[in-house]
């Protein structure tokens, strides 16, 4: 047994492909077009999303792991990949029925969705959620003030 009490962050990546459309009910048609540009086109568009999930915790003295990655994988599959892969976020995810599924809102929602179930995996906590809409854009929520 090696007692290494230092906290380590472990990060796992999953991918899903989904459609969305940027359109806010709180903006006029013209404002929607101006603010969102091409992303406002009526029939939507899609992305190959990538989600990085970082989990912090002490390294277990027996297993040498923060968490069992198989458990994290099962959780991410159930909560994220199965419901979102090949979906239309505006129509298939209730949360986005009236909220624009921007990269930012997706990251916030995924944080809320994953925080408790990740903590229940063991002596660990969700540390960061990073949603990549393309190789050139990501939104990131990290544990800090208020979280």
């Amino acid at each position: 047994m090696v007692n290494d009490s230092a906290w380590v962050r472990i990060q796992r990546t999953v991918r899903f492909s989904a459609a969305h459309r940027y359109h806010s009910e709180q903006l006029s048609e013209e404002e929607n077009r101006r603010v969102f540009g091409k992303c406002n086109r009526p029939h939507g568009h899609g992305h190959n999303y990538r989600l990085d999930v970082g989990v912090d915790g002490p390294v277990d003295a027996v297993t040498g792991m923060v968490i069992n990655l198989a458990d994290l994988d099962a959780l991410l599959k159930e909560k994220v990949v199965e419901p979102l892969d090949h979906s239309f976020l505006n129509y298939d995810v209730e949360h986005f029925a009236h909220i624009v599924p921007t990269c930012e809102n997706l990251a916030s929602w995924l944080w809320e969705l994953l925080e408790e179930p990740v903590a229940s995996l063991g002596n660990c906590r969700l540390a960061v959620v990073r949603v990549w809409e393309s190789e050139e854009l990501f939104a990131e929520v990290e544990r800090g003030e208020g979280r």
């Binding site: 806010s24 709180q26 603010v35 624009v100 930012e104 990251a107 916030s108 050139e136 990501f138």
Partner: protein, 128 residues
């Protein structure tokens, strides 16, 4: 909440400082000190931090931000010699700090810049 955006530019530079002798420059900077200079396909991540506008769901409007970053940074460096546009030695460390300052000056009324990550080659990344 943070939103990060990647930009690219191509530029020349040479690592050389008048504070060192020619021999010391060669010792410290190696190939990077060669007289004619060389270049990189740079990438820079600009990471913004702030509140999401509840009406739009956006931390920042993509096109407006892209325009500002292009004006404040990309147009000043893309296909330029960095030694002509940046004062002092153009190491990745210094470039990351200088570019962060340029960007902060362009976003005084916008979202805060949490960090920039300058990628000089796939093996070198400088965070400031």
């Amino acid at each position: 909440m943070r939103l990060a955006r990647l930009y690219r530019f191509e530029a020349a530079h040479r690592l050389h400082t008048p504070w060192l002798t020619e021999r010391e420059n060669e010792e410290v900077y190696g190939k990077c000190a060669r007289v004619g200079g060389h270049g990189h396909n740079y990438e820079i991540w600009v990471v913004f931090e702030g509140e999401v506008d509840p009406r739009t769901g956006l931390l920042l409007e993509r096109e407006a931000v892209d325009r500002r970053v292009r004006e404040a940074l990309i147009e000043r460096v893309d296909h330029h010699n960095l030694d002509e546009v940046v004062e002092g030695v153009t190491t990745g460390e210094r470039l990351a700090r200088v570019f962060r300052r340029w960007l902060e000056a362009a976003f005084t009324d916008g979202p805060a810049i949490e960090r920039v990550e300058l990628v000089e080659t796939p093996r070198n990344r400088f965070v400031a």
